[in-house]
Symmetry: C2
Subunit: 632 residues, 2 copies
């Protein structure tokens, strides 16, 4: 371990993280067994090695750190160490006052076997030892050599590894740190204008970049920016027939203005977009593109590559459907096409165009679960070969094993069920599943309280407290987080009755927002995001311990970075209406049995917590503590 599906998939790390390898290593008989982990980056010539340490019940462990992006291979090698075995046995006989002349003669062989491998001074030492073992004189000196720690150390350093045995090759893929720690903001660029009734542009978006940066977001994700289909275009609130002036859904991609390599004319030109990407980068923001593999009926592909679509016996092209529902503005790409090789190549070219020509390094992939798993495995690997910085977020809200499969195929991050987890038990169980099962090795969660497709019941009509609480939970439970704004921070949550869908959704029209408005949410979100930037414990997800509390509405959890130099303790009131009190148990088994000072990074308040159980009261006006743990 770690090992996914018998080595069929790689595990994931970011640069600087450790891989802890465990293995059962044993041999027949009572011989001394030794083992190591060998590992190598794809660009390295030679294997590096780290010796494993026995834990219990024939299990061994070792750790290595991955410093470079890309693929590492690792495996476990074990062997019977005959030299150590000999020394161990001889030592026990000497202690039992047996005469070991014959054993010393045997020892000569073990010593001579490693002289060649040893360095100059070690070789001199070994020759000396061998001579003493073989000599008829000075038996005492020889048994002193035989029992010495120096000899053990040299034997350990140069194992002969006769009859060594090894595990299968396993792989770890190493990403840049952003794969693990990222803070996303999504908005519709066509809503970026400040003039009522005017379609927003990339230029308008440039004006909004400082707002995004000031709120502490580092990733700005736009819904598709390509030309929107004109045939069968959707109207407001998903009406089947658009009215004149309706702008359609950005996911209905392609028109006479171009397809996946073009921009929607009303947003601006490719050059405008490149300028926006550049200005964003200057403010520490990366722009994430939507990679949505589908076509409007007037997408140029339909005419140019009819073989990439499914044609019905009546001569029409197959539109998307989930019977009896029909999506006539979208035509799925036919991945079973006989011409799939050219299709895959073109889809790769689309991604490479935005990467190489426009400086895009992050893709949010729309509905990857409706395309072949192997396509994603191939596409992501192909891109990463040339562009290891590129990251992919899987937008698959579907069954658990399908979401896992996509992550195993190589997606850097994945959307999650967080959006629907509300109670303490639901949240705790879900985060434990993500961080304490095999999923922790390959599934990097990105927690979103809302998306343009999901206006969750919990937020519909929700007050300020519930919005504060949801963002706090998302941003402290998971190191990657995102919101679809400004509906989130301005608490626009009107829904289509009975559904988790936004009423008057921006998916089908554009809005005029008062982008300059600040409120409690914009203030607190900014504060949380900026705290995340300077606290390593919040830049990772797996190191989390849930704390007992005496109130079902009060949830508490402790996080720490790998080196335990940063430790935080989060306490949240899940009740959006009433103040709640609880005592919270410090996880002594993790933090040790010493008094600590807990310093609230939001309010600046500090408390000495010198007992196991500690009192808290949290008010809906600020329903959480974000404590930094300080030690004297």
């Amino acid at each position: 371990m770690p090992q996914l599906d018998s080595g069929a998939f790689f595990i994931k790390r970011i640069t600087g993280q450790a891989v802890t390898v465990t293995a059962d290593v044993f041999s027949d008989g009572h011989d001394v067994v030794e083992c190591c982990v060998r590992f190598k980056h794809e660009s390295d010539k030679n294997w590096q090695e780290v010796r494993m340490q026995a834990t219990e019940n024939d299990a061994w462990t070792a750790e290595f750190t991955v410093e470079k992006q890309g693929n590492y291979t690792y495996f476990v090698e074990g062997w019977v160490d005959y030299a150590l075995n000999w020394q161990h046995g001889t030592e026990r006989k000497i202690q039992d006052s047996q005469h070991v002349k014959s054993e010393l003669l045997e020892g000569v062989e073990y010593v001579n076997a490693i002289v060649k491998s040893a360095d100059k001074s070690e070789a001199a030492y070994l020759k000396n030892v061998a001579k003493s073992f073989a000599s008829e004189k000075d038996y005492d000196k020889a048994i002193e050599f035989a029992m010495s720690h120096d000899l053990t150390a040299v034997f350990k350093k140069y194992p002969t590894r006769l009859l060594a045995n090894r595990s299968i090759d396993l792989q770890v893929y190493v990403d840049r740190p952003k794969a693990l720690f990222s803070t996303w903001y999504e908005f519709f660029p066509r809503s970026a204008s400040e003039i009522d009734g005017k379609h927003g542009t990339f230029k308008d978006c440039e004006r909004l970049l400082p707002r995004v940066a000031n709120m502490g977001f580092d990733t700005l994700y736009f819904p598709p920016i390509h030309p929107i289909g004109e045939i069968n275009r959707k109207g407001k609130n998903n009406a089947t027939n658009a009215q004149p002036g309706d702008v359609g859904s950005p996911w209905g991609i392609g028109s006479k203005h171009g397809g996946h390599k073009a921009t929607h004319p009303e947003l601006g030109t490719i050059e405008d977009f490149k300028s926006l990407v550049k200005k964003a980068n200057e403010l520490g923001i990366e722009v994430a593109m939507d990679y949505a593999l589908q076509a409007a009926p007037d997408h140029p592909y339909v005419k140019d590559f009819p073989q990439w679509f499914k044609w019905r016996p009546d001569g029409t092209v197959q539109y998307a459907e989930n019977p009896p529902k029909k999506y006539q503005d979208i035509q799925p790409i036919y991945f079973e096409s006989g011409d799939w090789k050219n299709l895959w190549k073109e889809l790769l070219d689309v991604a490479l165009f935005w990467i190489e020509d426009c400086g895009i390094n992050i893709f949010r992939v729309d509905n990857p679960h409706t395309k072949p798993f192997y396509f994603w495995g191939w596409l992501i690997a192909e891109i990463k070969k040339k562009h290891p910085d590129v990251l992919f977020l899987a937008e698959a809200f579907t069954r658990p094993k399908i979401m896992n499969e996509l992550a195993k195929q190589g997606f850097s991050q994945s959307y999650t069920y967080f959006t629907w987890r509300n109670s303490k038990k639901e949240l705790t169980d879900y985060v434990k599943e993500l961080t304490q099962t095999e999923q922790k090795e390959f599934y990097r969660p990105n927690f979103w309280p809302n998306t343009p497709d999901i206006n969750p019941y919990a937020l519909q009509g929700g007050n300020e407290a519930v919005h504060l609480q949801k963002y706090f939970l998302a941003a402290t439970l998971s190191s990657s987080v995102g919101i679809y704004g400004p509906v989130f921070e301005y608490m626009v949550s009107a829904a289509i009755p009975g559904k988790e869908e936004y009423l008057d959704s921006e998916k089908y029209e554009f809005f005029k927002w008062d982008w300059n408005q600040t409120n409690k949410l914009t203030t607190v979100i900014s504060r949380i995001n900026n705290i995340r930037k300077t606290h390593a414990s919040l830049q990772q997800t797996n190191n989390i311990v849930f704390c007992d509390t005496t109130n079902e509405q009060i949830m508490a959890y402790y996080k720490f970075d790998d080196s335990k130099t940063d430790e935080t303790l989060m306490i949240v009131n899940l009740d959006p209406y009433y103040p709640r009190q609880a005592t919270v148990r410090l996880p002594m088994e993790s933090i040790g049995n010493q008094p600590v000072r807990v310093h609230d990074l939001i309010t600046g308040n500090s408390y000495i917590w010198d007992k196991e159980w500690n009192f808290v009261e949290l008010h809906p006006a600020l329903p959480f503590h974000l404590f930094k743990i300080q030690r004297s």
Copy 2:
């Protein structure tokens, strides 16, 4: 699943048992997925197939029965069923009152694709359906066809399996039923004489066969019957130097009289032994040989094949040692020998000699954990190729993962830690580990309350009750059980002080027993063994449910055979001194919520148990119930 170490090892079954296969099967998108298990005996030409059923969360299951001894291969195959997919979608559109003429035309392709596979009447039906779908007339008839269960059934029967995908090959090895259900008795043949001071012979053993058969044992296991070494022979109580007349340890194999293919002259000839084996078989008893791969200093191998032993620099041969302990009467075989191929071949020949020339079909293997694992994997496979009836019991009392590895390499049965499990919690935990973890697939336990090497503290000075209780537990918890007698049934338990070793052990001398003596133990053991012969629930180990009781000294468990035609309920008082009372909970979730009659197969008493909790009182004089569950 089941799958051991990524398919590196086979699972085990006996003829007539089922293999339940589960798999996660899913595809991208929303298509209808179908899957099957395919399996084939090594002697079969064609694969058999059983369709899997969906359970929950994308998991599927199917079961197949293994009827023949030997190796079966099985794998899972899954595919998107485009025809069912088409039918499912079309049906929903019809229900939604959509016009489906175009869908019917598509349907023609799916129907035509399977005409060739179908039988005559099905083909006629399909042609009729295709014609109707293609026709401009009688739309109502066509949609009736499209929605019919008949069409679904034919599609299900003849899937086209486009783009099918499959798991790796997995294997199950099927043994004869004795691998799972066996009742062993061990005694030293040299103690078989009824004349004081006279060394027992195979002829003497023949006289004891009816006693063994009457006690209900079906397997008679002898310590090694080969010539005992004369050089460095051990004396009584493991003394380093034998006195004149000392008979030595039977595990010190080989002398001037021969080695592993010879018999000890004082026991008799090969012909005598063959006669014994034959007479035993006539009484339903199989003789199990000891396969102990080691040599006395005067074993013919030492002179004839010196390369099979390790020689020390001083020219002496290496005797067995576990420093600082020395075993000078035994020389281990040097498996790392350069001549290992001839060595392995000779060791195989030894086994084949006893199998082919003397009719031996069961080996108890001495200390297999001190020989290479791969040797056992090879040896057992080689023998089973020609002699699938042959069974191997691994006598490895060592660390858990090593015992597991030997079982995975192919041992049919294994000794266990039962010998040291005394409390209700210890026994329950251990049996759960054996029957409810991966071990249930490959580790067939054989429960022994004692062996010549182990006189457990719990039996030392133990009264009749503790002996009754131990045998009852062994024989009802595990379908394979054995005792080393007659010390067990005659309660001879004097020990070397502070050790779990017999004082005056038969390993180093022979005894004169009063073989005709009967007592409570011989009576009850016979009764239990004969009940086992007619109760299928006791002829298997894995189907067991532990029952709650209100007394820590009262342990209860329910067992059933695969078809649930036989159900038993065991209740044991673990206190050897006092009567104990408890109420015992019937496991309603397993046996159903109906009154049952429990019939004690030992005493003949019956009780109506019509409540969940039922009273019992057990006295040390007969410290258990062995209830047959009867239903009205």
